[in-house]
């Protein structure tokens, strides 16, 4: 039997803000445990939350970037449950009136409907010791978090693992480009819950959905979804029934297992948080934020393909890392030759900075980089010299490309007459090879001769000029 797959996503992202969501503690990662907390973060008696306006602004920013409606009045509610990382035993979140409603994100040819983005606070972190003890670090408690929830009841649906991953990747790019979140997955700054249901092909009736919580990393999301679809298919094909439940994805074993069944589902007893006022959002404020949104990946991509004549592949690779894209744009601003800059960045820069989990910093200034690319384009330096003698030398230092190139004497500055002389000398030395070339006209032999000339000039000649000259001289 054929099935339709319906995939829903809930994506949490930690907002980029100076301070936490409901107090003035620093929102910063990697501090000593329990050093960025106050009475509010650790839920001391009598402590009260005070909303950080910047967190609301960032949530609106996310909404605006994704074409959401922004509610004029939003309220915060308490989600009550016991867990040691949740100091107050409730999370301040939003249920009935979130900040953003009804958005969408384009994946392939589909506009995937999104139900909401709401603002909430993150919980602390449990640190399990080897001695069987568990410690609690409340530094993360109160960090502003936005939760985006797709609207799986509306069409079009996310139907495959690949679509889900594309959705997440696009979302991640938008959050990063708009300065909403750094989305560093290894820091848990972006986490996804996935729910999946299957129904007979064409059926209007939704199947029972199974949820998988807190999957880290998009590659795991893909595997987890593929696994769950296969699992449900197998059950259905054997005539079984899908249980409504929450399952946990075990990334190492590549399987999932039951975490909670419907019977054990928590009742969070949401109600409006009496400590916080309703948030009033004016149209002016939304307009202001709209204006402050920087260029987003989809707009860049359009420019790159339409105006710069880059391929879709090239555009996608440039856009993959914001700092690479920023660097590219900084370079184009100085030297408007995007095609050439793109070639260099895609080959020479990316190979240097790519790591397993992302891309490291670019350790050369746009000015120096442009100087190199421009001189190679203008045939003033050979590409191989530019790369090996200059780029490698100045990478990560404060040296200037121009100074290094001049010091190493690799500028192509031999005049025509002198070059002719050198070529004649080389041809004399390799007279037997020249004779062979004259009869066979083999490009390999030509290349050898060019190489010999370049060697003699120590790269200071332009290889294509040399080649033309050799051809001319040997024809005589």
């Amino acid at each position: 039997m054929e099935y339709d797959v319906v995939i829903g996503l809930e994506v949490h992202a930690e907002l980029k803000t100076q301070s936490k969501c409901f107090c003035s503690c620093a929102n910063s990662f990697g501090q000593e445990p329990n050093t960025t907390c106050c009475p509010v973060c650790v839920g001391l008696p009598g402590a009260l939350p005070v909303l950080n306006k910047k967190a609301v602004e960032q949530t609106i920013r996310a909404g605006v970037a994704l074409g959401f409606e922004i509610n004029k009045t939003a309220i915060f509610e308490r989600k009550n449950y016991f867990y040691p990382d949740l100091a107050k035993a409730y999370q301040i979140s939003q249920l009935v009136k979130p900040i953003c409603i009804n958005g969408h994100l384009r994946v392939g040819e589909k506009d995937i409907p999104i139900n909401r983005i709401h603002l909430e606070e993150d919980a602390g972190k449990l640190v399990h010791g080897t001695d069987g003890k568990t410690l609690i670090d409340y530094n993360r408690a109160g960090v502003p978090l936005i939760e985006l929830v797709t609207d799986a009841l509306k069409e079009p649906h996310i139907e495959t693992a690949n679509e889900a991953v594309e959705f997440l990747e696009k979302l991640r790019q938008i959050y990063i480009y708009a300065g909403i979140s750094d989305c560093m997955q290894e820091r848990g700054q972006m986490r996804a819950d996935v729910n999946i249901s299957l129904k007979p092909k064409g059926s209007k009736q939704f199947g029972t959905k199974v949820e998988m919580k807190n999957i880290m990393g998009f590659r795991s999301v893909k595997r987890a979804i593929e696994y769950e679809i296969a699992r449900q298919k197998e059950i259905l094909e054997d005539g079984g029934v899908i249980e409504q439940e929450t399952r946990k994805w075990d990334n190492e074993k590549g399987i999932n297992f039951t975490l909670r069944t419907k019977e054990n589902a928590q009742d969070y007893r949401y109600f409006p948080d009496p400590d916080l006022l309703a948030v009033q959002i004016s149209e002016e404020e939304v307009e202001q934020i709209k204006k402050s949104i920087p260029i987003l990946p989809s707009q860049y991509k359009h420019t790159y393909m339409q105006e710069y004549a880059l391929s879709e592949y090239e555009a996608d690779v440039l856009l993959q890392f914001k700092h690479v894209n920023d660097f590219f744009n900084a370079c184009v601003a100085i030297y408007p030759n995007p095609k050439s800059l793109c070639n260099w960045i895609l080959t020479d820069i990316l190979t240097k900075i790519k790591t397993e989990s992302g891309a490291g910093p670019i350790l050369i200034s746009a000015q120096d980089f442009v100087w190199l690319v421009q001189n190679v384009d203008n045939k003033k330096i050979n590409k191989i010299n530019a790369k090996e003698d200059v780029l490698e030398e100045i990478w990560g230092t404060s040296k200037s490309a121009e100074e290094v190139a001049k010091k190493k004497n690799i500028m192509i500055d031999i005049n025509d007459q002198a070059l002719d002389g050198i070529i004649q000398e080389v041809l004399k030395v390799h007279i037997a090879v020249v004779e062979q070339f004259k009869t066979e006209n083999d490009p390999k032999i030509l290349n050898f001769l060019v190489g010999q000339v370049m060697k003699t000039t120590r790269g200071k000649a332009n290889a294509s000029v040399v080649m033309e000259k050799i051809k001319k001289f040997t024809q005589k």
């Binding site: 009475p39 008696p45 005070v50 007893r269």
Partner: protein
């Protein structure tokens, strides 16, 4: 000197007739000799505080409360001092920061002398639900002092301090003030910061003064009031002029009489005092105006839904995991929660937590919590409308004199005690209780006035007038 009020005492200290340290010493002696159990702990540094203020006064310091010893309820935090909210859960808890109200007292030169007994987490009408001991009414030790700020009110009438702070969620300042024959004010919601006050029901809680006379009360409220950056629910742009109408006559004042209150009062012990107050007001130039507050009939059920709902959530942080007591027999996380909460919460608190979680739980939320909120909204509107035709509204504070210890063993009987007080909390209005003669057992009877939001000054006008002229009336 112990019987002096705040202003009288401050002036004597200022004039050099007595030092703060001497009167502090006198109070400490009196507390030690007292048999009413009004006080949980005399702060070890009280004498030291007084000495320091004496030194400052000698150098010309003139704080509004310079040198005046004040007692605070056990749910108000002062850094480095114990605060237990009358609960075993916080028996050993030492506050990590100072509440805004305590800081305001200290900023005006008050000596924070001791912490007063209270019903556990402010849940109760007789201070019989303190986890430590019952407090006896100093005027008749077989009777309760009222609650939950029973320790505070008892301390004031017993002259264990110049004044005290209480908190009022459903009458917890006014009812004990009535039972002890002192002046108690529940300010407009948002008048006084709740930061650093152990929360009971956040949308209803307010801190307020309990004093020997009206003028003192107005002065203390002036000190306590104001916007607090740590409490979003404090009102902005407050006008703080509580004494401006003190001394003015009642000529032309319109006093609202709620018809349904008339009916409720019939047959109660308080009836004759209530009627005498009406006469008194009319004799002194005020006009009685009939007003309708139809939803007053539903205010008690609404209160006993909203308050427990918020309390259930507010008290969830007392879980045995962090700063609270933890059950010695707990082995697992679940046991830490269940055994600690079983062991350290009293029955009344457990009752309200269960009630609160019940009304918030899925399937019951609309029927209870939302309905109660709608009653609240309508009550508020009805009051606002009623105040278009009157300046204040009169009601009794309680049904009569203080009841016998153990006399309200049935929780429902105890809840009904709050019938006249809860509406001010539910509608967020300011309300004052002032002594108005004695009842059959020669114990005080209190009368209550309610005013529009932020119109405390009218309450002080009426209260001070009644205070000054009540001797004129036969039987009062």
């Amino acid at each position: 000197m112990r019987e002096l009020g705040v202003i009288e005492l401050r002036e004597k200290i200022k004039a050099g007739e007595i030092r703060s340290v001497d009167i502090t010493q006198e109070y400490i002696q009196a507390i030690k000799q007292s048999k009413t159990n009004a006080i949980i702990e005399i702060f070890a540094d009280a004498i030291e505080q007084a000495q320091e203020i004496d030194k400052k006064i000698q150098q010309g310091y003139t704080g509004k409360l310079a040198g005046v010893p004040i007692i605070i309820k056990d749910n108000i935090l002062v850094e480095g001092k114990h605060a237990s909210a009358g609960s075993l859960f916080l028996k050993d808890y030492i506050a990590q920061y100072t509440s805004t109200v305590a800081q305001k007292l200290l900023d005006e030169g008050a000596v924070i002398l001791a912490r007063a007994n209270m019903d556990e987490f402010a849940m109760g009408s007789g201070t019989e639900h303190s986890a430590y001991f019952k407090t006896y009414n100093p005027l008749d030790t077989t009777r309760v002092p009222g609650g939950s700020s029973g320790g505070s009110a008892a301390a004031v009438i017993e002259n264990l301090c110049a004044a005290a702070l209480g908190t009022d969620t459903g009458g917890s300042i006014r009812q004990p003030s009535s039972y002890c024959g002192v002046v108690g004010m529940k300010p407009t919601y948002g008048r006084v910061s709740r930061y650093g006050v152990v929360a009971f029901a956040s949308s209803l809680d307010q801190v307020g003064p309990i004093t020997k006379n009206v003028q003192d009360n107005a002065l203390l409220l002036e000190v306590l009031s104001g916007t607090d950056i740590h409490d979003e629910t404090t009102a902005r742009n407050q006008v703080i002029d509580f004494s401006s109408r003190i001394g003015k006559s009642l000529q032309g004042l319109k006093v609202g009489i709620v018809q349904s209150v008339d009916a409720m009062v019939q047959g109660l012990d308080v009836e004759s005092h209530y009627e005498k107050m009406k006469e008194f007001l009319q004799q002194h130039g005020a006009t009685l105006v009939d007003v309708q507050i139809p939803h007053l009939q539903l205010v008690l059920p609404a209160y006993y839904i909203i308050a427990p709902a918020e309390a259930a959530s507010n008290l969830a942080r007392f879980d045995g995991v962090k700063y609270t007591s933890r059950s010695q027999s707990a082995q697992t996380l679940n046991e830490i929660y269940t055994l600690s909460r079983t062991e350290f919460f009293g029955d009344e608190v457990k009752r309200r937590i269960m009630l609160g979680n019940y009304v918030l739980s899925s399937g019951y939320f609309d029927a209870y919590y939302n309905k109660a909120r709608s009653v609240q909204a309508q009550l508020r509107e009805e009051y606002i409308k009623a105040f278009q035709s009157c300046d204040v509204i009169l009601m009794p504070t309680a049904k009569g004199e203080a009841y016998k210890i153990g006399g309200k063993a049935n929780p429902l009987d105890a809840y009904k005690e709050d019938i006249f007080t809860v509406s001010a909390n539910i509608a967020g209005l300011p309300a004052i209780s002032i002594p108005f003669g004695v009842g059959n057992h020669k114990l005080p009877i209190g009368m209550q006035f309610l005013a529009p939001h932020f119109e405390e000054k009218t309450l002080y006008q009426v209260a001070s007038y009644v205070e000054k002229h009540k001797e004129d009336i036969h039987g009062v």
